[in-house]
Symmetry: C2
Subunit: 247 residues, 2 copies
């Protein structure tokens, strides 16, 4: 898939992903989205950049919350087709573009937002420096990624399960081995990049950010009623969310 | 053991601990100590506070490196007896004191240092605020603790092992369940407090610190020759070390 991985334009992947997004309840809707949205500042009059905007749902949300201008970028033509159909607005601009290629975007942003996209990126440092350059002095960068305890995984079973099928413990291996992971998600060969906690924090720090808040979201009792296997998240969370300011 | 836990004055614990510390090679000597010491600034002329100083080895080290004054506090009378015997110096002051009880220490410090003691402390927030108050404006707080992936553990086997006895994966459970852990280390009922990454980072942040560096140390090839089971650390590290400045 190379540097600018674009699995979302693969037919099988795209259909599988569409199926997940259409579910009434899933991990994104119940956990990741409420958690990352809880970190947003007041958006009135703000200029916002959404990295890996996908279907553009968050772009629409930002406009609803009073944003002045939203730029959504995504590497996938198919995702942007959906975005332009379902989440079109005169103040939203969609650009087909890799996150590796944002350094020439024009203007500065009050908020850079990215939901579950950064673990696909090989060059974390370049990306963070580009983002920092695109931010206004008092701007914020809020992003979510798969939790490092998830991305650590290489092969074999993720969970050791009890008789009821629920995970008793998570089979953690290779956590300290940073780098490329090839996983199967609808299709083989989906590439993600694992980074340890210390690597994430130190890189963010060295690239001119200060940490304002970190979240490792947990399911509510209501969530567990809807998706019982979410109790496993008390053993190993699924998401890591950072709210960063400029130093 | 209550709030001011003092296992180190238990006879059996103290003898067991003495045995470990007397080993030529162990996790502390090969991993934790080189890593935490690598974060130290120039110590010439500095005033240093060592929280949980134990035998006082680090207090002596700070004096060797040119520190002007070192205050070592420890809750254990037995540990301090050894410290006063083996690491006595006119510019080192040893105080028998719980870390819960440092708010009235006199003077401000350039460096607050603590090696593998903070995971015994229930009230992390109070401790951090007390430490922040004891630091000069440009002071630093450098501390190590057991890694959160270690303190998460509640009961059962920590590792799933292969035929050669080496850990294939770490049995991670209860990572998101913060709080008290009762473990056996020479004696039953040693109390530690587990905190997640996000809890550590957010508390440190809210208590007026900014993160300068985080380490999750790994063994060198040389270390693994000396202690072969250290290869397991690539699956799950043992220590977390933070270098913090004042905001």
């Amino acid at each position: 898939m190379g540097k600018n991985q674009n699995v979302y334009d693969d037919e099988i992947f795209f259909e599988g992903y569409k199926g997940i997004r259409a579910q009434e309840n899933n991990y994104n809707k119940l956990q990741e989205q409420p958690a990352i949205k809880s970190l947003l500042p007041d958006l009135k009059g703000k200029r916002i950049l959404d990295l890996g905007c996908g279907y553009g749902d968050s772009c629409s949300y930002f406009i609803e919350k009073g944003a002045q201008k939203v730029v959504g970028i995504d590497i996938s033509k198919k995702m942007l087709e959906v975005a332009r159909k379902e989440n079109s607005h005169e103040n939203i601009e969609y650009l087909e573009k890799s996150m590796d290629d944002i350094e020439n975007l024009s203007g500065k942003f009050d908020l850079v937002y990215s939901s579950l996209a950064l673990h696909y990126m090989e060059d974390f440092e370049k990306l963070l420096m580009d983002i920092n350059n695109l931010m206004r002095k008092d701007g914020e960068f809020i992003y979510s990624q798969e939790h490092p305890l998830s991305t650590a995984h290489r092969k074999g079973l993720r969970w050791t399960r009890g008789e009821d099928g629920m995970g008793i413990h998570y089979n953690l291996a290779n956590y300290m081995k940073s780098g490329k992971r090839e996983t199967t998600w609808f299709i083989d060969g989906v590439i993600k990049y694992h980074r340890t906690f210390s690597e994430i924090i130190n890189t963010v720090n060295e690239c001119g950010f200060q940490i304002e808040k970190i979240l490792e979201p947990l399911p509510s009792e209501e969530d567990i009623k809807l998706i019982p296997k979410m109790v496993q998240d008390f053993h190993k969370p699924n998401f890591l969310i950072l709210k960063l300011g400029k130093k």
